[in-house]
């Protein structure tokens, strides 16, 4: 590549970086770095991760779950893949910004980096194909793909980022000591999201096998692979023991039955891409097959990038053999399919005979980018699940209630994304909405409701009996963590939302509050236009004067 082309390439990359970051920052944070409350949070996966970051940021350590998340236990292990929490909490401290904005800034950067790492991978095939492939990644900022970020699939996004970086390293692994940075990437991959770690190991095996069948001397690979796996093994060993006894033991399914649904938006090829893109991807897949065959025949290294792209495509369909993570990885299709897009334009470009041919990929990338930007850019701004008033009530509870206080949330429109309740940092409970609807319809002020405790049960409150032996508080007394009829008078504080899309429920909340206050059984301790918090003056007593 000439000097002029190299500078042009840098300018194009910068333009795309601006376009991606500008769009992402608009969608996620209204073009502001700092907010007065967690902004751009759209689902409870995100609030769940936020509550862990908050804990780490404030306590400084995250070996154990806080008691309020763990049903009162203080020895329950924090077993979630930890990289997202450490990266964001330490960055927030360093930059002196709120912890939730640290999450937003770091995760958007990771999200925006994805197409650029893929760009580097495709660059090894041909710089023109890489340039042509870049614009299609703009679809990341259209739904359902953007939901991977806005709904809070943070560990997964980091997992894919490390997976792609790992793929970039694989073909050059034999360079002296390059196994060392790859070992760091592999370890971070496992500590971020283990399923992408497995995909990366899978590709390393595929790569070595293809090299073997290509009659390459694969012994030279083992000189790098041996220290790679030893060092990675050492670095992940401590977390591996925890992961094996929590997520792997409790959540991995060995069923090979096809899976088609998950707890997030599942992209479908035919539904989520316009016809023109489906046609281009189809041609790209066909061309990739031809390039691989041709490369094998001529003993060139052109097969590497198409094989990577096809490998990633196949991974996104392993839901047919029971791998539900395949549905999740589809959320990043605009990145994973970049090669199939770029190779079509690259192939057409090779047929052009012009003196100015070398300028076409850059111009083409910009033109396609502009078309996609005009088609998909939406200056959408929305605060997300949380708002200023709700956040004020959360911070009031954090700062003004005893650490052992129990908090009962009556209906609020956003509390169905219930992991957000952990953000108040107290033992929280919520009235089951259906039960409150029923009582509101019957116009009964009741002392008992079906109440759900908010406890982090993904890892069954695992605790260590010894280095390799684990116990599970959840399985020792399951009923304790399940919803049941409970007397509301046993709780210390009641959180009452005064406005709702289901206004009769909000009016019911107000009626409960008024009854408590009029009978001098409660004290209004916090009040803003949306939320009132009433302290129960006699916890365990007869707080409502009704049977």
């Amino acid at each position: 590549m000439s000097l002029k082309q190299s500078s042009l390439e840098k300018i194009i990359l910068l333009l795309f970086f601006i376009a991606f970051l500008f769009t992402g920052a608009g969608l996620l944070s209204d073009h502001a770095l700092i907010h007065s409350f967690p902004y751009g949070i759209y689902a409870m996966d995100a609030t769940s991760h936020l509550s862990f970051v908050q804990t780490l940021y404030q306590r400084g350590n995250f070996t154990y779950l806080p008691a309020y998340m763990a049903g009162g236990y203080t020895d329950a292990l924090s077993a979630n893949p930890p990289v997202i929490y450490y990266l964001t909490a330490s960055f927030a401290h360093l930059a002196g910004i709120p912890w939730y904005d640290g999450v937003s800034i770091i995760m958007l950067l990771a999200f925006v980096l994805l197409p650029f790492v893929m760009y580097l991978i495709i660059h090894r095939f041909h710089p023109a194909a890489a340039l042509f492939s870049l614009p299609v990644a703009y679809l990341l900022f259209a739904n359902p793909f953007f939901s991977s970020l806005s709904w809070g699939e943070y560990p997964f996004i980091l997992g894919v980022l490390f997976l792609l970086a790992g793929l970039w390293f694989v073909p050059v692994i034999r360079l002296s000591y390059l196994w060392l940075p790859l070992a760091l990437i592999l370890s971070a991959n496992f500590l971020s999201h283990a399923s992408e770690f497995v995909v990366l190991i899978g590709f390393i095996i595929v790569y070595i096998l293809v090299e073997y069948f290509q009659k390459e001397k694969i012994k030279s690979y083992f000189k790098s692979l041996l220290p790679l796996f030893i060092v990675t093994g050492i670095m992940i060993a401590h977390y591996f023991i925890i992961f094996k006894n929590t997520f792997a033991k409790l959540q991995l399914s060995s069923s090979f039955k096809p899976i088609f649904t998950a707890g997030y938006l599942v992209p479908e090829f035919l539904n989520n891409f316009p016809v023109i893109l489906i046609v281009i991807f189809g041609i790209g897949i066909f061309l990739s097959g031809l390039i691989i065959l041709n490369s094998f025949k001529n003993k060139t290294k052109n097969w590497i990038v198409p094989v990577m792209a096809l490998f990633l495509l196949i991974i996104t369909y392993t839901n047919w053999i029971g791998q539900k993570r395949a549905l999740q990885i589809r959320l990043l299709w605009p990145v994973l399919l970049m090669f199939f897009f770029g190779v079509v334009f690259y192939y057409a470009w090779t047929k052009i005979k012009s003196a100015h041919k070398e300028w076409i990929p850059a111009l083409g990338a910009v033109c396609i980018g502009v078309i996609l930007l005009l088609t998909y850019y939406t200056p959408f701004t929305h605060a997300g699940l949380l708002d200023q008033y709700t956040w004020e009530s959360f911070t009031w509870i954090q700062e003004n209630t005893p650490p052992e206080a129990t908090i009962l949330f009556f209906h609020g429109d956003v509390y169905n994304q219930h992991t957000m309740l952990n953000l108040v940092q107290r033992r929280t409970f919520r009235v089951k909405s259906e039960d409150q609807v029923q009582k509101a319809q019957q116009q009964i002020l009741s002392r008992t409701f079906f109440i759900l405790p908010e406890t982090f049960l993904d890892t069954w409150l695992a605790y260590r009996k010894s280095l390799f032996e684990f116990g599970y508080h959840y399985s020792e007394n399951e009923s304790l963590y399940q919803g049941r009829e409970m007397d509301i008078c046993q709780f210390d504080y009641f959180v009452l939302t005064k406005a709702s899309q289901a206004q009769p429920l909000a009016e019911y909340n107000i009626a409960i509050g008024q009854h408590l206050l009029e009978n001098k059984k409660g004290e209004l301790v916090f009040n803003n236009p949306l939320i009132a918090i009433v302290r129960n003056l006699h916890p365990g007593g007869d707080c409502l004067d009704i049977k």
Binding site: A32, T63, L113, A165
Partner: protein, 122 residues
């Protein structure tokens, strides 16, 4: 003292990194246009220190094999990996997370410097 052999490389890389810092600052000023400039500078400087320098300097041991753009992009991902992995161990040592952003880049840059020094001695 760093030998003359490394000075031109450091100067060249330093200039490029400085240029990148300015470019990154401009990009963030555009993307986060409603934010005051001092906050943007603070955030970009933190990103640069925590998530650019450690990985970029480390991957630059293979400077002759990879272009500046490759080292920059992979360097950022490598910085994230370094920060993620070493934070896990610092957490096991019960060190407060507020120090990680200072300790990790300092240690990585120091270790990289030592490696360069002993390479020079060869």
């Amino acid at each position: 003292m760093i030998s003359n052999k490394y000075l031109p490389i450091l100067q060249e890389e330093g200039k490029k990194l400085l240029l990148f810092f300015v470019a990154l600052l401009i990009v963030y000023l555009i993307a986060y246009s409603t934010q005051d400039i001092w906050t943007v500078i603070r955030v970009v400087a933190s990103l640069f220190w925590f998530l650019v320098l450690p990985g970029f300097v480390t991957i630059s041991f293979w400077r002759e094999q990879f272009s500046f753009i490759e080292r920059l992009i992979i360097g950022i991902v490598l910085s994230m990996a370094i920060a993620g992995v070493f934070s896990y161990f610092l957490n096991l040592l019960n060190l407060h997370v507020r120090w990680y952003g200072w300790i990790i880049p300092t240690v990585v840059l120091f270790v990289d410097g030592i490696i360069v020094y002993f390479r020079k001695e060869k």
